[in-house]
Symmetry: C2
Subunit: 256 residues, 2 copies
DNA sequence: GACCACAAAAGTATCGACAATTTCAAACTC
DNA sequence: GAGTTTGAAATTGTCGATACTTTTGTGGTC
């Protein structure tokens, strides 16, 4: 959440070398962090003095984010924060499930004592957070749990794809854990995954993960269905700045 | 390691000026088509008069291709055609399998008479090509077969991810179908997939696809192992242009 | 008041020039 | 002769200016 105006110069030898990738990361963070509304217009000139970078950096960052699926760009008409439709959200979840299943299996094939220790600790801590009704903390640990599995599976490509997908659907995902009753069930499912990993049983691990994620998805579907999402159809062309989205402020809150 | 989905990009090509996305497509084509060696340096100035586009277009295209995983860029040191390591090739295949399995299952759930007719025709034609020992033609039809399944599954995200992955590993994939005995087996496997789809049996379809792909991978592994790939370690810094790779000229030759 | 034409404004796309960095090779030192 | 320094060439990174496109606003006409 680096603050905006960081014009640190003032002298002639300005240019604090805000690197290309630096700009990209900051813009990305701003988008995934919810500093912009979905579908909000991203005007290059505005970003220039919001991020304190040159226009070419901004431009490059937008191209990257477009390719990454976080913004959309239309020729001569600029860039907007990409709005994930319900359909796309489902597609994302399907892909996510396919990859996580594969990684879970793979993880079970390479499991080490170290991994198990870490996962156990995470699960224990998750339980504690749950008792304190600290849902945000739970979400973070949930992320950690899954990421440890990714690491165990040792497939960087899949892990990075998953990370990208997650950033695309953050706005949607954060809903699940808040649904009534979901937390306890989620807890049980994680325990089951851990058990299968402890047994070093790829088949069972994949199955447990599949079970877990299918519940996440159905919860998600329910959440979307009930709390009718009011899409900003043709979003306000105004949307000046600092409009804080529901999840806003918080760090990445993962689906659970 | 980058994600990426091809955006729909409305192709309003009628632009006398070599459009931005036009440049991107041409450069992409040049890379996947094998006009550049893996690891070959892509000097911006050279690309400018090779493609007849402005430097900013080239630059944007390189950023995109970087994100897509087809080239790598180092700050101040330019871009190179990405060289897929053996490890990465395996990762790609794993992801590909996970996604294709998912899509196969999904396809079986939505199968229509039209789809079956098309698939059958494709398989018949594949058989014919095989008898004529037309391996290239077979490969093309193989691609077509799989793409039809993607379409049936109706998950654009997964399909576009698969397309990207395929373009990354083209240089590796083309080997499989040339392996002795592989062709006949491949044929049988496609028939099995078709049968499962005809029965509209998601479980069986996924299994058949998994079986098929696991064979593709093991064939691939064998092919890589035997024909010791001679990596251009620290690739020639010269590599002027038009150096044609083994598969070269041909359109996309898919693994079978 | 609704509709159209046309002008002004906002914003993106692209080019050229210059600055900064890396690379390569020759000259130099020990 | 091996290793190091220095300088020039090659190449990438960034900025400013300009051309082009889309959007917005205004006034006239029926």
């Amino acid at each position: 959440m680096a603050a905006a105006h960081a014009r640190d110069d003032g002298s002639q030898a300005n240019r604090r070398r805000a690197d290309h990738s630096e700009t990209y990361l900051r813009l990305r963070e701003a988008i995934t962090g919810g500093r912009f509304q979905p579908n909000e217009r991203l005007v290059e000139a505005q970003l220039v003095d919001l991020l304190g970078a040159g226009r070419s950096s901004i431009r490059a960052a937008l191209v990257r984010l477009d390719q990454e699926g976080l913004v959309t760009r239309q020729p001569n008409r600029g860039a907007r924060v990409r709005l994930i439709s319900g359909r796309e959200a489902v597609e994302i979840e399907q892909v996510r499930i396919a990859l996580e299943k594969m990684l879970a299996r793979s993880a079970a094939e390479h499991v080490t004592a170290d991994d198990l220790a870490d996962l156990e600790a995470t699960v224990v801590e998750m339980h504690r957070r749950l008792e304190q009704d600290d849902r945000l903390g739970y979400s973070e640990l949930n992320s950690r749990f899954h990421q440890r599995i990714w690491k165990m599976a040792d497939n960087e490509l899949a892990a990075s794809l998953l990370a990208t997908l997650k950033s695309q659907s953050i706005r949607v995902q954060y809903r699940t854990i808040l649904q009534p009753g979901r937390a306890d069930q989620s807890m049980r499912e994680h325990v089951a995954i851990l058990a299968a990993l402890t047994a070093a049983d790829p088949e069972a691990t994949e199955a447990a993960m599949a079970e877990h994620l299918s519940h996440v998805v159905s919860t998600l579907r329910r959440a979307i269905a009930t709390s009718q999402v009011r899409l900003p159809g043709a979003a306000a062309s105004v949307a000046p700045e600092a409009v804080t989205s529901p999840l806003a402020a918080g760090a990445n809150v993962a689906g659970a």
